[in-house]
């Protein structure tokens, strides 16, 4: 039994090295994967802030640094890759074959819309303090062809569209709120016309159709057709969002469902009503969710999800109704009704309609996920494939004969004609892609690796880690740690050479002997609480360091010391510390193992236990050293009620005020970590204290200098930003 605590204590020292508040991964997120069939290249933004192009064989063609934002969008354009980082306000064009930068534009502020290419110019709308501006950049060189500055724009650019060759429509949000549309010549930036204002904020702008959303007097979507030649409004239609569920613009139609009522469609060209029909559900149903779309080959699909109706044991099963409607006439061409639950919206993949569902498994309450393939117009079921975890938010991919889908952490290939499972591969999660090129399927996983599978067989081909050898975002972190280490090492070196180090008096630590002495005189025990954190928290280690000194004093004075612990590993270590202290004080017989005990991991269970110890044993001196949370005040107040002298120490800034208010002495933040050195008087440890202070002075100086400089030299802030 003796070996067990020692073995555990030694192995638990591993936890010394576990970074307290172990850092979360510094990874960003993958961008969408783009496939260039012409050059047989995949291009992807990795989670490690790199843009990579690689071939189907896994050979890296090029790799460049990117701004690292998650808003990166990529477009393949001829022999170039266009990179747009909306959050950073940057547009870059790189060569597709080498990744070499052709040109780069930094707007200096986030982009308000995705840039569009019009008249061989990239139209970039960027925000600024004084408003927004529109800049036209030459497609080949990136040089500024023209700019419409903030006052002339007259508001915040919310949408851009090339409505005719060389003519831009720019939706501008103004105070009100209201939206105006301006027609601008893409060649020279000259304003041709401005439309009448529409109340609300912009929702979309495309093909001359402006959609705005107004909040007053009632929430409504307004659809308006703006003539591209003169900005004249041809027609307007308002759809009250209180009476209609979310309208959808699908191709040439605007479709919406009246609340608990019929489906209605209007022409997106003329605004006139086209058709109206019931969604095909029985009346009296509650909580029905209707989703409109997709639209494919002139057929509109409308899904109604009916939750279980009724109460208690009389509940009906969930139902789903999928209608296929002719988009032009609203006539029903196909219907699917089933006692099942739809897990998502239908999608058009290849020549099939796919619907993910959850079906009952046998006669029990158990369910399983499935994917139904339906014929497009008639919605007859072609096949059903069982899935383990369902598609989630992913959309299946279609190859020549296979349907490739993400089923939880698996990638599964189904025969497109029959739905039978051809192959399946387990993955570490899919964060980018999958994308298919020829016989290669590539995806990025949660471990920041690119993996390739053979499409026909699912066989693993290659994998490529995209992790960097150095976390660039932590450069300044490393510099800071290195500098502080240098300072500490310097002073330790000087302390080793015998230089005397002055350390100011810390009242809480000077009162330590006094507190133990008081307990001895009163014939009462000393209570020492090491906090609620485990041994991987540096505050707990600092607390154990102080415990050693306190235990030695109590051993010398033959005063009992009670150490209730909230963690088993801490208990094991505390027992060793207290035992050693008693041995060193020459009082091995006064060590009682049951005085260092484990109570519970639970926060309030622990504080209830400690409060009970205080009320029963009435310790005359209480020490609270370590990491505390909400229970700190409960401990301190109960201790005060028993009349004990209390010394607390924590680096938890939120708990310090409670300890300061309720305890006699408080060690704040760094004083807790300095305690070990202060009490031991060891020159090496005192040297480290001096080094700590010197590092703190350096940090203070840097903060002060940069506070003065950064407002005048903005580039300094960018240099320091990871």
């Amino acid at each position: 039994m003796k070996l067990w605590p020692r073995f555990l204590a030694i192995l638990a020292w591993l936890s010394l090295t576990l970074v307290h508040g172990a850092p979360a991964s510094a990874a960003g997120t993958w961008s969408a994967m783009v496939v260039d069939k012409d050059s047989r290249t995949f291009v992807v933004g990795t989670a490690a802030d790199r843009l990579m192009a690689f071939g189907p064989d896994g050979r890296i063609l090029w790799r460049i640094k990117r701004a690292g934002a998650t808003s990166l969008r990529m477009v393949l354009s001829g022999d170039r890759v266009v990179l747009v980082d909306k959050d950073a306000g940057q547009v870059a064009i790189v060569r597709r074959d080498t990744g070499a930068r052709i040109w780069f534009y930094d707007a200096g502020s986030p982009l308000l819309t995705t840039p569009i290419l019009a008249n061989h110019r990239w139209m970039v709308a960027a925000g600024a303090k004084e408003g927004s501006r529109l800049v036209a950049l030459d497609e080949a060189t990136g040089s500024e062809a023209w700019q419409i500055a903030a006052p002339a724009v007259g508001g915040k650019i919310a949408a851009l569209s090339e409505v005719a060759p060389g003519l831009l429509e720019v939706a501008v949000e103004q105070a009100g709120p209201q939206v105006v549309v301006r027609g601008i010549d893409a060649t020279n930036g000259r304003l041709h016309w401005t439309s009448e204002p529409f109340p609300g904020t912009i929702k979309s702008l495309s093909d001359g159709l402006v959609v705005t959303t107004a909040a007053a007097p009632a929430t409504a979507d307004r659809y308006a057709a703006v003539d591209s030649t003169d900005g004249h409004v041809g027609w307007q239609r308002e759809i009250d969002l209180g009476a209609y569920e979310e309208p959808q613009r699908l191709g040439g139609w605007i479709v919406a469902r009246k609340m608990n009522g019929p489906l209605q469609a209007w022409s997106a060209r003329t605004g006139a009503p086209v058709w109206e029909r019931e969604p095909g559900l029985p009346s009296g149903l509650h909580g029905v969710e209707v989703s409109i779309g997709p639209l494919g080959s002139g057929v509109l699909y409308v899904l109604s999800k009916v939750p279980p109706q009724g109460t208690g044991g009389q509940k009906s099963p969930p139902r789903v109704l999928l209608l296929a409607l002719d988009a032009a006439t609203g006539r029903e061409t196909g219907r699917l009704m089933a006692n099942t639950r739809a897990d998502g919206s239908p999608s058009l993949v290849g020549d099939q309609v796919l619907l993910p569902v959850t079906v009952a498994k046998g006669a029990t309450d158990a369910t399983e996920h499935a994917l139904w393939a339906l014929k497009p117009r008639t919605l007859e079921r072609a096949w059903s494939a069982r899935l383990q975890d369902g598609l989630g938010d992913s959309s299946p991919l279609m190859t020549s004969s296979l349907l490739i889908a993400q089923d939880g952490s698996r990638i599964v290939a189904l025969d497109a004609a029959t739905g039978s499972e051809r192959w399946t591969q387990l993955t570490d999660g899919v964060s980018a892609g999958p994308a298919v090129l020829g016989d290669t399927l590539v995806f990025g996983d949660d471990q920041q690796a690119l993996r390739a599978l053979r499409v026909e067989s699912g066989q693993r081909q290659w994998s490529l880690s995209t992790k960097l050898m150095f976390a660039e975002k932590k450069t300044w972190n490393l510099v800071g740690v290195a500098l502080i280490t240098l300072f500490i090492s310097w002073f330790i070196f000087h302390a080793r050479r015998g230089q005397r180090m002055y350390v100011r008096r810390i009242n809480g630590l000077s009162a330590l002997d006094e507190a133990v002495g008081r307990a001895t005189e009163m014939g009462k025990p000393v209570l020492y609480v090491t906090g609620l954190a485990d041994v991987d928290d540096i505050q707990t280690l600092a607390s154990l360091s102080i415990l050693g000194h306190v235990a030695r004093r109590t051993a010398e004075y033959e005063t009992p010391i009670l150490v209730p612990c909230a963690r088993s590993v801490v208990m094991s270590m505390a027992q060793e510390v207290v035992k050693e202290a008693h041995f060193k004080a020459g009082r091995p017989d006064s060590y009682h193992r049951e005085n260092v005990r484990y109570l519970t991991d639970d926060q309030f269970g622990f504080v209830a236990g400690v409060d009970g110890i205080m009320m029963r044993d009435k310790p005359a001196a209480n020490f609270y050293m370590g990491m505390f949370f909400a229970e700190s005040l409960i401990l301190a107040e109960t201790g005060h009620a028993t009349g004990a002298i209390q010394i607390a120490g924590t680096a938890a800034a939120s708990q310090l005020p409670f300890f300061v208010a309720a305890c006699d002495y408080t060690l704040m933040g760094e004083e807790l970590f300095a305690a070990g050195a202060y009490l031991s008087g060891d020159p090496l440890q005192l040297g480290s204290l001096k080094g700590q202070d010197a590092a703190k002075a350096l940090v203070m100086g840097v903060i002060f200098v940069f506070c003065l400089l950064v407002p005048h030299y903005a580039w300094l802030a960018k240099v320091l930003t990871p």
């Binding site: 090295t17 992790k467 976390a471 049951e594 680096a651 309720a662 070990g676 204290l689």
Partner: protein
């Protein structure tokens, strides 16, 4: 000799090697996944250490029952509760709608909430003792606490406006922007900065074996 080496040098070596390794894992993403493995090992160790903790709890409480110490009835309650909860969890599982879930919802949660609720009363008593104008700093603390407390209730805002002090500055701006946003935040950050540097220093000392008191002795 072997025993002394086991007690001192081996733990220090383990500390240094694993600490250095963790630093590498932190700065080198390519090997970051090994950090998770070490954390898993720590979890396994904790489970074994948990057995020691339970053993300690059983021995301490068992001895008190045996000796019929003062309040030994509560020790019986603790042990009985422990074994009942353990048995219930092992037999019926810990999922929803099991007896274990019932114990959690209707026994543990109310007790935990009760202990938490004591804070409300203790804050009042601590504030009553602490907020006294004994010195200049204490008076400043008292005034600041007074402003923050009345600013958080509607009647305080009405009073502030009625006394026309809002002409100088609305109370919400004074509290959120200046007291909490500037002074309080600056103070907290100062403490955090000092504590962070202290953590680096302490970690360095532990890694290099300068600080050894956690092993039990100098």
């Amino acid at each position: 000799m072997g025993c002394a080496c086991m007690k001192r040098e081996v733990p220090l070596a383990i500390s240094f090697l694993t600490g250095f390794a963790m630093m590498i894992f932190y700065y080198v993403p390519a090997v970051e996944s090994y950090q998770d493995k070490l954390l898993d090992w720590f979890g396994v160790l904790t489970v074994f250490a948990f057995i020691l903790g339970i053993g300690s709890m059983l021995i301490v409480n068992g001895n008190k029952i045996q000796r019929r110490s003062t309040g030994w009835g509560y020790n019986v309650v603790l042990l009985v509760s422990f074994f009942i909860t353990l048995a219930v969890g092992l037999v019926w599982g810990t999922r929803e709608d099991t007896p274990f879930d019932w114990v959690f919802k209707y026994v543990y949660s109310p007790l935990s909430g009760t202990m938490f609720s004591l804070l409300a009363f203790f804050i009042a008593s601590a504030a009553f003792r602490a907020f006294k104008a004994k010195s200049a700093e204490a008076t400043l603390l008292l005034l600041t606490a007074f402003i923050v407390m009345i600013g958080r209730v509607p009647i305080g805002e009405h009073l502030w406006n009625a006394l026309q002090i809002s002409r100088l500055m609305p109370i919400n701006e004074l509290i959120d922007h200046w007291i909490m946003g500037a002074f309080n935040t600056a103070g907290q950050r100062a403490i955090l900065l000092g504590a962070s540097i202290g953590i680096i220093s302490m970690s360095l000392k532990i890694l290099l074996g300068i600080e050894r008191s956690y092993l039990g002795g100098d």
